[in-house]
């Protein structure tokens, strides 16, 4: 929190966050909300593992297991991993390109609240009859058959709302990166995390609309008598599978590319060496994103598309291993000959390489269409995607949290606790998921809530469950670390690690509300490192000190998103209750009404005057 907010009372701080359009505070909001959903998803994972710890267990039986399993996947992907990545993008990308804010600060806030209310709506299902229970992929044949409660409707409406927010975030980052780079910050001088954010945003922009369309169809079928997926009226359930995976496969790159970006920053910083093969890294990122759109049907090899389609998608999938391999070698060569400092983020980064490569190798195995008939829907697939998503994305989130925590909050997380939590997580992760490869190869199906004794799966499942508790312990230690750090962690300077290379490390931690008192002049890749190598402590300014233009705070984004939240309740129940339709319309009126207000009320922002900037800068220098 900035020095200004610390003097305020709780109510004022809360109001500040409800109305903020500052990318740094929105990053805090994403971190808190995403973190809470991460804990929720983690808890659901523990419940799954407890149920599977022994054969014929009755901890979570049948329908309830389906709900917990569905919500674990949905929460982790949509409400934990993506928002947490958005937290870092918001916190870091404007700083890395030398900008004072994002291109659309208002839209940024709106995107957050859309995500938040979408996630909240989805989780309300727990208290209103039952959660969605058709798996995170929610295949139409299962979800149309799920008629006992409104779970699936919470899924379709909740994800639509949060999906709007994600698309807004993507447009915002694209425009920010294209239009708002500081003088001298050419595309090929952008830090890798910014590049990853750029490419990821493009993926989101083109991958989310098919999901939205799929969700609209599902909503129409379940709530408004549509027939898209109803074979009895001519519908076709396979359409859902295509739409879902046209989104779903780019989605995994939406998660992993920013993670690659985080690791690229960490490897360069703590090897104290320029990232090896920068241009090839950029190229590989773009290439992975490009291929990412052409491989969706490898999730559907067993659907019966025929050998030609399967072969094309198999080969395209295997091709992705090439640019990914380029990246792996670049990271290794970045470390090679570097003066490596083993900090907590670096631990995660180094552990990520073998862990992720294992997930990549099983990915290539799965891409062989003929072999996939054997692996399909078994625990081998579960092991594979947890190796890439936990070993890649979650490691990156934890690494990024430790790496940028001092920048975001001005205090350093405790390194000893960080390393303890790393080891617990690393060991727990491999303990949980390595054995699942073999459970899958010996035939254990995924998504099934129990198994019989004497099938050779007891030990494997027990080991897996124990591993999950290791990861839970690691998370608890991380939380303790956060509490201790917030209470009495040491305050840090701008260049918190001492080895910062990119622009965010050149300004105070946490940064002042306007980020850069003077827009910096960028003279090459790793702009701050260049200045430091020339013996300077500050960036070269590109402009004289002057008044700084800032956007106004607004409560409207919250209200706009809240309207959709209300509308979603109305439409979910419009077939059951009289109040359904009016409430739905009321919600839409709130949303469109606040959009109308946004349109007609002028918002010119305000200026922080030169003298105030000077004073704030002086105060920061003294502290």
């Amino acid at each position: 929190m900035s020095t200004i907010t610390r003097k305020k009372g709780v109510g004022a701080v809360l109001w500040d966050y409800l109305t903020t359009v500052d990318h740094k505070k929105i990053a805090h909001l994403y971190l808190i909300a995403g973190g809470l959903f991460f804990l929720l998803g983690g808890l659901e994972a523990l419940f799954i593992r407890i149920q599977l710890a022994k054969p014929n267990n009755d901890f979570l039986v049948g329908g309830l297991y389906n709900e917990v399993l569905t919500m674990h996947g949905t929460t982790m992907i949509f409400l934990a991993a993506m928002p947490l990545l958005f937290a870092f993008m918001n916190a870091v990308v404007p700083l890395q390109i030398g900008a004072r804010d994002v291109a659309f600060p208002y839209l940024n806030a709106l995107g957050f609240w859309m995500f938040f209310f979408g996630g909240l709506f989805l989780n309300c299902s727990w208290f209103l009859g039952g959660a969605p229970d058709a798996g995170w992929t929610s295949y139409a044949s299962l979800s149309l058959a799920s008629k006992a409660h409104h779970g699936i409707d919470f899924y379709t409406l909740g994800l639509q709302i949060s999906g709007f927010g994600t698309i807004m975030g993507a447009v915002n980052f694209l425009v920010t990166i294209i239009n708002m780079r500081a003088p001298g910050m050419t595309f090929m001088r952008m830090p890798m995390f910014t590049w990853a954010t750029f490419v990821t945003s493009a993926l989101i922009l083109f991958a989310f609309p098919p999901l939205t369309v799929g969700l609209i169809f599902m909503m129409m079928d379940r709530l408004f008598g549509g027939n898209f997926f109803n074979p009895a009226a001519g519908g076709n359930t396979i359409i859902w599978e295509h739409l879902f995976w046209i989104f779903g496969h780019p989605e995994v790159y939406i998660l992993i590319l920013p993670s690659f970006g985080i690791f690229s920053e960490i490897f360069a910083t703590f090897s104290r060496k320029r990232l090896f093969g920068y241009s090839s890294m950029v190229f590989a990122t773009v290439l992975i994103a490009f291929f990412g759109f052409m491989v969706w049907a490898h999730h559907m090899f067993t659907v019966g598309m025929g050998p030609v389609a399967n072969a094309i998608f198999a080969v395209a999938t295997m091709a992705i291993a090439v640019p990914t391999g380029v990246k792996i070698f670049n990271w290794l060569f970045t470390m090679w000959g570097g003066s490596i400092k083993f900090t907590t983020p670096m631990y995660y980064a180094v552990a990520f390489i073998p862990s992720f490569v294992m997930g990549g190798v099983t990915g290539v195995m799965l891409s062989a269409a003929a072999a996939d008939y054997q692996y399909h829907d078994s625990y081998f697939v579960v092991a594979h995607f947890h190796y890439v998503i936990v070993g890649g994305v979650v490691f990156a989130l934890l690494a990024g949290a430790h790496y940028w925590w001092p920048k975001m909050f001005g205090r350093m997380l405790n390194e000893t606790l960080g390393k303890i939590s790393f080891w617990l997580f690393f060991i727990g992760f491999h303990l949980t998921f390595f054995i699942q490869h073999f459970l899958g190869l010996t035939g254990m199906p995924r998504r099934v809530f129990t198994y019989l004794p004497n099938q050779g799966w007891e030990t494997g499942n027990l080991v897996s469950t124990i591993g999950a508790f290791f990861m839970a312990a690691a998370t608890v230690i991380l939380l303790i670390n956060i509490v201790i750090t917030t209470a009495k962690g040491e305050k840090v300077a701008g260049d918190a690690w001492g080895d910062g290379r990119t622009l965010e490390w050149a300004i105070a931690s946490p940064p002042p509300v306007y980020n850069f008192a003077q827009t910096p002049l960028v003279r090459g890749l790793d702009a701050f490192w260049i200045e430091k190598m020339e013996g300077k402590k500050e960036l070269t300014p590109a402009e004289p000190l002057g008044d700084i233009h800032m956007p106004n705070s607004s409560f409207l984004p919250f209200v706009t998103a809240f309207g959709l939240f209300v509308a979603a309740f109305g439409f979910t129940y419009h077939n059951d209750a009289q109040w359904g339709l009016p409430v739905g319309i009321l919600g839409l009126l709130i949303t469109f009404g606040s959009m109308f207000l946004r349109s007609v009320i002028d918002d010119h922002g305000f200026h922080i005057h030169k003298e105030e900037v000077l004073e704030l800068e002086k105060k920061e220098a003294n502290a």
Binding site: A103, F104, I167, V171, N172, L174, V175, I178, N179, M180, L205, F206, F208, P209, P210, T212, V213, G214, I216, F217, M220, D221, F224, G225, G226, N227, F228, N230, A233, G234, G235, N236, I239, L243, I246, F596, S599, V600, D602, H604
Partner: protein
């Protein structure tokens, strides 16, 4: 150039929609948004193509579609796209009154289109082609209806801008808003060209 600057026909920039950073951001952001919208409509089209013959005993495309109404609607919408070009032409020449006039004509034409579409839909429902009749009906109404709701939104948007700015004239704060609304209008028009071809023409001959 600054947003709140008072401008005359002489000082008004050639590209007022991109004269400020806010304007540049809006311009680019909106083009990107339209990229996402394109994928949205592509998904709707693909689904329609997959389901267009699944009439489930209800009326088929050949039985339903009537050229006169659809042709009229098409002409109205295509013309409205042209009139919005005139509006933007006058915006660039700092002629606020003419811009308002042409946007007004655009809105009238768009409203005519929407009226015809509503008439068309009610006719279909009378002929037993309801949203719930078949997979064909669901995909037809969702595709054409999504376009129709875009038209309705565009109309309200342009009207709001016209009324909001009626008294104060053009400046660099509202010029990007008008420009972006006209982009949206063109996009709706382009989508209709595809709907006319893929849904109606192919429906009548295919």
């Amino acid at each position: 150039m600054h947003v709140e600057e008072k401008l005359t026909a002489e000082t008004f920039p050639a590209a007022p929609e991109r004269a400020t950073l806010e304007g540049k951001n809006k311009f680019l952001g909106f083009w990107l948004f339209l990229g996402g919208e394109t994928v949205l409509f592509a998904s709707l089209f693909a689904t329609y193509l997959a389901l267009k013959d699944k009439t489930n005993g209800g009326p088929s495309a050949e039985e339903l579609f009537q050229m006169p109404v659809v042709f009229m609607a098409t002409m109205l919408l295509l013309t409205s796209s042209l009139t919005s070009v005139y509006a933007i032409y006058h915006m660039k020449n700092f002629d606020f009154k003419k811009m308002q006039l042409w946007f007004g004509i655009t809105v009238l034409l768009g409203a005519g289109f929407l009226g015809l579409e509503i008439y068309e839909f009610t006719e279909y429902v009378h002929e037993g082609h309801k949203f719930t009749t078949s997979a064909f009906a669901s995909s037809f109404y969702t595709l054409v209806g999504t376009h129709g709701s875009h038209v309705a939104f565009g109309l309200l948007w342009i009207l709001t801008l016209m009324i909001r700015n009626a008294k104060r004239g053009l400046d660099l704060y509202n010029a990007p808003k008008f420009y972006v609304a006209s982009l949206y209008w063109h996009f709706i028009d382009v989508v209709w060209v595809f709907i006319f071809t893929v849904v109606y023409l192919m429906g009548m001959v295919g």
